[in-house]
Symmetry: C2
Amino acid sequence: MKKIFFLLSLLPMMAAAQTVTSPDGNIALTFSIDEGRPTYAMNYKGKAVVLPSHLGLELAKDKHASKGMRETDLMDDFTIVDTQTSTFDETWRPVWGETETIRNHYNELCVTLQQQKNIVMPPPANPDVRGRGVETRVRKMIIRFRVYDDGIGLRYEFPQQDELNYFLIKEEHTEFAMTGDHTAWWLPGDYDTQEQVTQETRLSEIRGRFREAVNWGNSSVAVFSETGVQTALQMRTDDGLYINIHEAACLDYATMHLELVDQQTTSLTTKLMGGSNAYTPNPTPSSYPLPKPFTFVSHLTPDATGLKGAMQTPCHTPWRTVMVSDDARDMLSSNLILNLNEPCKIEDTSWIHPTKYCGVWWEMIVGKSSWNYTDEFPSVKLDQIDWSHVKPNGRHAANNEKVRRYIDFAAKNGLDEVLVEGWNVGWEDWANLWKRDVFDFVTPYPDFDLKALNDYAHQKGVRLMMHHETSSSTQNYERHLENALQLMNRYGYDAVKTGYVGDIIPRGDHHYSQSMNNHYAYVIQQAARHHVMVNSHEATRPTGLCRTYPNLVGGESARGTEYEAFGGSRPDHTCILPFTRLQGGPMDYTPGIFETKLSTWSDNPSWARITIAGSLALYLTMYSPLQMAADLPENYERFDDAFQFIRDVAVDWSDSKYLEASPADYITVARKAKGTDNWFVGGKCDENGHVAVVRLDFLDKGRKYECTLYADAKDAHYETNPKAYQITKKTVKRGDVLKIKEAPGGGFAMSLFAK
Amino acid sequence: MKKIFFLLSLLPMMAAAQTVTSPDGNIALTFSIDEGRPTYAMNYKGKAVVLPSHLGLELAKDKHASKGMRETDLMDDFTIVDTQTSTFDETWRPVWGETETIRNHYNELCVTLQQQKNIVMPPPANPDVRGRGVETRVRKMIIRFRVYDDGIGLRYEFPQQDELNYFLIKEEHTEFAMTGDHTAWWLPGDYDTQEQVTQETRLSEIRGRFREAVNWGNSSVAVFSETGVQTALQMRTDDGLYINIHEAACLDYATMHLELVDQQTTSLTTKLMGGSNAYTPNPTPSSYPLPKPFTFVSHLTPDATGLKGAMQTPCHTPWRTVMVSDDARDMLSSNLILNLNEPCKIEDTSWIHPTKYCGVWWEMIVGKSSWNYTDEFPSVKLDQIDWSHVKPNGRHAANNEKVRRYIDFAAKNGLDEVLVEGWNVGWEDWANLWKRDVFDFVTPYPDFDLKALNDYAHQKGVRLMMHHETSSSTQNYERHLENALQLMNRYGYDAVKTGYVGDIIPRGDHHYSQSMNNHYAYVIQQAARHHVMVNSHEATRPTGLCRTYPNLVGGESARGTEYEAFGGSRPDHTCILPFTRLQGGPMDYTPGIFETKLSTWSDNPSWARITIAGSLALYLTMYSPLQMAADLPENYERFDDAFQFIRDVAVDWSDSKYLEASPADYITVARKAKGTDNWFVGGKCDENGHVAVVRLDFLDKGRKYECTLYADAKDAHYETNPKAYQITKKTVKRGDVLKIKEAPGGGFAMSLFAK
């Protein structure tokens, strides 16, 4: 191998800079070598989006890594030995999605780099043997760029080679140099959670806002820098460009955060700032020069020893993505993240289906009922309790009677499944106690008749949805996983909601580390073997893996509806999430809270910051193949005419049109239900209200549609009058223009049934 | 609970000191409270063995642990609230062992302690609410002592209580204050390995010898203190007492090391000294006063964050043991460690059987053959290789032809099983590369016909023994374990040799941590479900768990015979191990190297430091229900008359008599084969030779025995003439006295068949 490299290095040097443009010519990506360091820049319609930015990886010094790689970084001393450009254009059909087909069209630039380093060898142990003094090491690294009309992806590829078979990553140094002090919608960078309130500030204001932005009270928190932020990071430039940085296809690699270099940055972060899970030591700081202010630098989630990843060639990193447009709607309709993921690896996908569901859940979140069956024990050891003789606390929600009521409700209203949380033993002391053997995932509480309830549900055409809270004790979950999946197959469950509340066990690991990302993928793959769909809560943020594993039908990884019971989220929250969290895949946001004032039926003083019409809009604006009707059946029964929309709305689409969008302001979208000619339109706005202008240009020409509009009443307001809505029906046709007033914190939903 | 404690604290204080003696009265254990700290001392025949020594645990400050325990140590402020003494006398039958029955006879002292602490509360958040200022917290801890004729055990017990439901251990502070500068046989304290050469020094010399004693080149090393040593630690006092410190029944708790306080100690260790696996940060140093020099203090193996354990009450620590006698033979015949373990938890033990085996192993250790099948790849990904099209390296030992030869050899010589290492794919790049998915434990190399070879073996009355090298990637092993055990059941394997070479994956964990100890136990338990016996290599050191799980038939956890191929072990090595490593359970030492000069059949310049007669002795002096005939069949065929002893020798015993013993000098033992009237006697000595005096007092009166003696020839010497042995036969009877000369590094073996 060394010889081959040597010959290559004699070839004439390639041209100094390579440029590749998007199919429509709007985006230009330029690659060059800057004093030995790989460098890229990105333009959109002639405007700079990413200024020249370095690429590279710093490797860890480790005795084991030294076998075959000799502890030198992949940062500098590079020359270009080959470049290849190509074009790809393919249209594929997702198992479920916002559109029936997705076009994957890009121009690619693949740069093969060679690094030649002269290594000063240690003196030989035997003084009689002459040392070679300096040894020359040659290694190869590929950087691949894909340039789409709506953005770019780039990744590092590491071919198998004698000088690079295994390596440990100290840090990835992918830079994104911004052109100015953009407005950003950001979450504090955290190794364990994204359940935070999005901040809207200038880049220069991140540091000052950071500490108050952290959700210190979350069940697992580890923040690493006062300018650390998460992805997908949505920005807007002063001259009207929308820029979004994220990643795609993160498999067996640590989740990437971004650390902003600002005027106060003196070195890239080397130790954890704080949080419940801030055990991890970071390695020594990087010795490479700091980039200029307004540059984001990648920051990977560490393992318990502070290192960022263990790699074996041939391998590659996930894609690092930059989306750009001068139209905010393009941020929402983009399929760039999905396109950069591998095609579906599940051969038979017939068992995967979009799902509308309700569940025994909200009443525990609100605090009226309990997951646990008893209050008798200060702590519980699963194998030492005869549950049939335990004194019940009278508040356990997952009981036969209640679950039957939910099954009846689902059957009556055309919901596919009923989630039941708290069905299995172990909830008495489940969270954040460093308890490893917290659940066994197969033993029901005595008041939950596993067989009878599933039989009852199946008779009514409904399935129960499984719940596996792991309490972040992943070793315990993996030990029980096969049995738990077999139990699901035995009783006819085809979907599981998994949960990762609390700090990861084993201690020192983080929710977003390489090993945890591998764990989530393992669970998805094992579930697929058993024909089980997965909806992961508190797991890593998604990066489009649902293309490859479409049984990953949902996830959380953001502040969901549950926070409406924990003090509330801001009204604009759901007008931001589609720009950020949803870039990587659908969210199980659990919308549909009709009784926004929780104190009407519980002791919880919180209230949901949304109108009922706004709640209905979320079934469209927050795209997901998995949609919950999260409120209690009795609350839906009180507003049955509004609930009609939830009964009607589809969860899978042949087409989607984003009609209006402005981050944290409003989103309006029209979607065509798959396999029908019916459309549904939804609009959601922030605390300021909005007038949506819906041009029905997408309807079939010459056809009439029965339009039902669920709108905020005139005096509706998320704070003072959230339950005031108006339902109107009329016949509409293509070309009609509807102006719909959305109340502060409100929205609207509309069904358009083709006649 | 608090109220109850309050009432108890009003009871009259218990007597200042409690004493309990051994059933024979020789050992006296005294417990007292020394300025609030629990304290014990131990005497033997009126001589001090352990001077007054403190007991206690320092707890970690952790937000999660604070639920119910409030972050205060369990070190001081204790009073005695109850003491109970009792006597226990029971005889039990081990599934396999050195004797047919074992007497478990002790006097017990159980002390219930109460700790009352005044906690200064933080000021309340609301200044209108009056803070309580100081709050009183009351907790209970039990210390249980068991006093045997041959030593003591003590452990901490933590009842379930409101103020102590969960806690994290920062360090256990169990002290063992020695009376002087004893001679000790010690290994450097290491979180990952015991494959070291035993050092014989005074206690005061440990620090000076420490660095050269570390096996820095081992595949996983983490040393923590220049006075850190491992257990079982054997000592001898100047006035002739033998003292041995170890632990019993270590389950779901970190393995204990000992740190000696000497004249130079300024504080107990707070950071790792070095080694390949020295990633772990330790928490801040203890603030408790240092004990006096010559005191050992417990030092637990940390997790990746430096903490020592996560506990949930009710729970207890392992037993900390101190054995004592003025007769060295008592150290070897003691059953104290086994007796302190729980009775057998496996109901049906009929499938567990002592085993004599050979294996495809030594030729790879020596370096003549390879575990891996090919040299074609710089690295391997299991799922990406079509093994049937891979170019073999021609050195792969686990091939059909060779395995058949070993099966034939086993069948011909009455060996029960044949171990085959290197049968499964993945050995191309298996060790210390931080590779997680290193083996799948079910896919054979193309030249190993799983079904045909097992069928062939079974036809000949032999079984194959499974091999699972995990490469210390424990998550990977647990993921595959069930499938691997099912494969074993399918093909008729009933025993597995497991291996844990290299640093633990996930990084930062150690071989002897709580989580790893839990892993080993998990594997033993899962194997038992499948009726599989386990022999763990590179695992944690044993603490008698084979009583509770008798399918744990062997282990390594010391420098085994393999080191004879890595430069050699000292001749006295096997005269020390029974005093140290074997206290916790049998070792798969893999004895029986007849061709001691490896260069006669390989390129390996090493040579085994033992005579052939000495090798035969090991089948008796190194007790194990699992005994290998480790050399190649062709080497045994060259010395078939000596090999007759290996054919003859039993591996399970109804009685054992230690006839002579001196640590690192010599050991002579007689054992009666279970279910027969035959005896076997073995003697092994160090580099100085020895004349064993064997009084045949143990034979049946009036009965004659056919005695075959395998002795070193007159001029035998482990270095210059190791293969010189003499076989003599004669008839003997009870009362005869045999004087047998053992050569330097030699020994003898003797069979006594009842006529």
